[in-house]
């Protein structure tokens, strides 16, 4: 804490956000919007939070771009570490600008693998009023976990079933959760299809789900609405 005058202890929010971005071909029409909005994310979230009278003591962003292990395992996952904003804004910008919408093969994508990686992120454990938010942007259903477990570069740490992933997400008095119950949130911009709507949005706790139309990108969502939703979930 460099400035004791500004210290507000437990009254500020330490926010970690993992953006899981579907970078397959069908996202092409909307990916530029998602990317440009992601680049403004820090300022806009700060602005919305300030309007709500809530201060952020620390903001870290991590991006996981995903495609399909069944199509091309070498490009299925690209990700950053947690980047502290605004200090590491340049690293964040370079990564986001480099995401290209391509590939994907069949309709389902490897969104659950991305979600598993997000859940197991190295979340902030110090500071007070922590918020650990996963935001999923996709217009497709997901392959069942483990479907492509034998492929090259498939992360060994990923649970082999949705039930196992649910155990990691956790629930009331869960002993297996890897995320903090009071901090975690899951915001889905995903089609009204399994597994996003059912079981994840319906059964996992602390979820918000914007249903998009499968295969039609996420055009119907304004970034203002997305930012507002994330800020409201904190």
């Amino acid at each position: 804490m460099s400035n004791a005058e500004q210290y507000q202890g437990n009254l500020q929010y330490a926010v970690d956000i993992v953006l899981c971005v579907d970078a397959t071909g069908s996202m092409h029409p909307v990916l530029d919007t998602v990317k440009s909005s992601a680049l403004q994310f820090h300022d806009r979230l700060d602005d919305v939070m300030a309007k709500k009278g809530k201060a952020i003591s620390q903001l870290r962003l991590k991006v996981i771009a995903f495609r399909d292990f069944g199509d091309d395992a070498s490009t299925a996952i690209q990700q950053t570490d947690f980047l502290q904003l605004p200090a590491q804004a340049r690293n964040f910008e370079e990564f986001v600008r480099g995401i290209e919408a391509s590939g994907g093969g069949d309709i389902p994508e490897s969104g659950l693998e991305a979600l598993a990686l997000a859940i197991n992120s190295p979340w902030e454990t110090g500071l007070d009023r922590r918020r650990h938010v996963i935001v999923m942007f996709t217009d497709a259903p997901a392959h069942a976990l483990g479907t492509h477990a034998g492929t090259q570069s498939y992360p060994a740490s990923i649970p082999r079933s949705l039930d196992d992933l649910f155990e990691q997400w956790g629930y009331a008095r869960s002993q297996t959760a890897v995320m903090e119950q009071s901090a975690k949130r899951l915001v889905l911009f995903a089609p009204d299809l399994a597994p996003w709507s059912d079981p994840i949005a319906e059964e996992w706790d602390l979820t918000l789900h914007f249903a998009s139309k499968a295969g039609q990108g996420l055009e119907e969502f304004e970034m203002d609405e997305i930012i507002e939703t994330i800020a409201n979930s904190l």
Partner: protein, 427 residues
């Protein structure tokens, strides 16, 4: 009787909402085959304490530069030994999701209720209703006001014999929520609620089991707003348990966890309750988390109430000082209702809490780490303890944490005297 009501931001009511204490229900009001009926009591009978119509300016805010989103209201009736006030503020002008606090007292039956309602913005952020002025209102905004209306009607019927128990309040809330404006949202998920709001209330009744008057208290609540009882000897004691997985008040300050139960229109909810008797005189308090959720240690809320009481010359001034104080530290909408019973006027009330405030100042103000906030002691004036240690800005968070732990340890036992067990721990 004194009172003023400063409206810098007047909110239109949801459609179908009758004015408070309307003599006739609106013709279109839905009537259940069995259950609550709309507000029907006239101002003459029963004698309920309601906010006055006349607005007056707040105390010494200086020249009006911009509208201050706040309202205060108070009433003092020395004959009844009753003093009541409420404070309502909003963080963003025109966007406040707390409803006006509800305070009512029925003289003939010696019973009353105070309640606060905090519309839950995270769960009910979507617009559900457009007011006649074109302003769009969120589900949280509407939910809090509908719950207030339901509580108002419920209390009218309690006066007429309806039992003041969680089950009846639940039925009234459910009925009004079912008939309130709702809009299908494109957002779903388990965080999502229709018309979500907290409710913290205390129904009280004067009883004389053996000649001596006692208060029979029935705290009723859902969510993380709180009700308390405050006395000079025992301080502030919480009567409600937040509906969160965590129940330690300091940990709740540090983590601000999600609620596990709150009033809403689309899912089951529980109205929690307990029953106890309490000696007179005492002060009852209901508050939303804008008051107690942005302090550094749980004792700070009581310190704020008593410091403003000590500085005030009248009940009106106390309300206004509370309003200004909470606006100086909160990051949320904040509403509060206070009812003091059995004191011989405001001066008596203030005098009785002087020693308690001095004790709190010794324990929680003079020990405060330097640099924490504006309440920190001036260097050189601090007493013994952590505040007297050499100051190292980098070590401030750790010192604050130690101070929070030790002050909470000292405060906790008294504060939790009437903390009810968790729902799942009750038979």
């Amino acid at each position: 009787m004194t009172g003023y009501h400063d409206h810098s931001a007047q909110h239109p009511a949801p459609p179908g909402t009758p004015p408070p204490y309307a003599s006739e229900p609106p013709p279109s009001w839905p009537q259940p085959s069995r259950g609550p009926h709309p507000p029907s009591a006239s101002p003459a009978s029963p004698a309920l304490v309601a906010p006055p119509e006349k607005a007056q300016p707040a105390l010494d805010d200086g020249p009006a530069v911009r509208p201050v989103p706040q309202r205060i209201w108070c009433v003092a009736d020395d004959r009844m030994g009753l003093l009541a006030l409420s404070v309502w503020t909003e963080q963003v002008p025109g966007r406040g999701e707390d409803a006006d606090p509800f305070v009512a007292y029925h003289r003939e039956s010696d019973q009353g209720v105070l309640a606060v309602f905090d519309g839950s913005g995270g769960a009910g952020a979507a617009p559900v209703w457009q007011a006649s002025d074109g302003e769009s209102r969120t589900g949280a905004w509407v939910g809090a006001r509908v719950a207030r209306l339901a509580t108002d009607v419920w209390f009218h019927d309690v006066v007429d014999g309806e039992p003041a128990v969680p089950e009846t309040l639940h039925d009234y809330l459910r009925f009004f929520q079912d008939h309130a404006p709702q809009r299908r949202s494109k957002i779903s998920g388990t965080m999502r609620r229709q018309l979500p709001t907290t409710l913290a209330s205390v129904h009280y009744r004067l009883v004389r089991p053996q000649g001596e008057p006692l208060l029979e208290l029935r705290p009723l609540w859902a969510g993380d707003s709180r009700a308390y009882v405050l006395r000079p000897t025992s301080g502030l004691q919480v009567l409600t348990r937040d509906h969160t997985r965590e129940s330690d008040a300091l940990e709740l300050l540090r983590t601000d966890p999600p609620m596990t139960n709150l009033v809403c229109a689309d899912r089951d909810f529980t109205i929690d309750g307990q029953r106890l008797t309490y000696p007179l005189p005492c002060v009852l308090v209901a508050a939303t988390d804008g008051f107690f959720g942005y302090v550094h240690t749980p004792a700070d809320f009581e310190v704020m109430l008593l410091r403003t009481l000590e500085q005030a010359g009248t009940a009106d001034e106390w309300a206004d000082r509370i309003r200004r104080e909470v606006q100086s530290y909160t990051a949320d909408d904040a509403s509060l209702a206070v009812v003091a019973l059995g004191y011989h006027g405001f001066q008596d009330l203030r005098a009785q809490f002087t020693d308690r405030l001095e004790k709190l100042a010794d324990r929680y103000l003079r020990t405060r780490p330097h640099g924490l906030d504006r309440l920190s002691p001036v260097p050189g004036e601090a007493g013994p303890g952590p505040a007297a240690a050499p100051e190292d800005p980098a070590g401030l968070p750790a010192r604050v944490r130690v101070w929070q732990d030790s002050t909470w340890h000292a405060y906790r036992a008294g504060y939790e005297t009437h903390l009810p067990p968790a729902l799942e721990e009750r038979t």
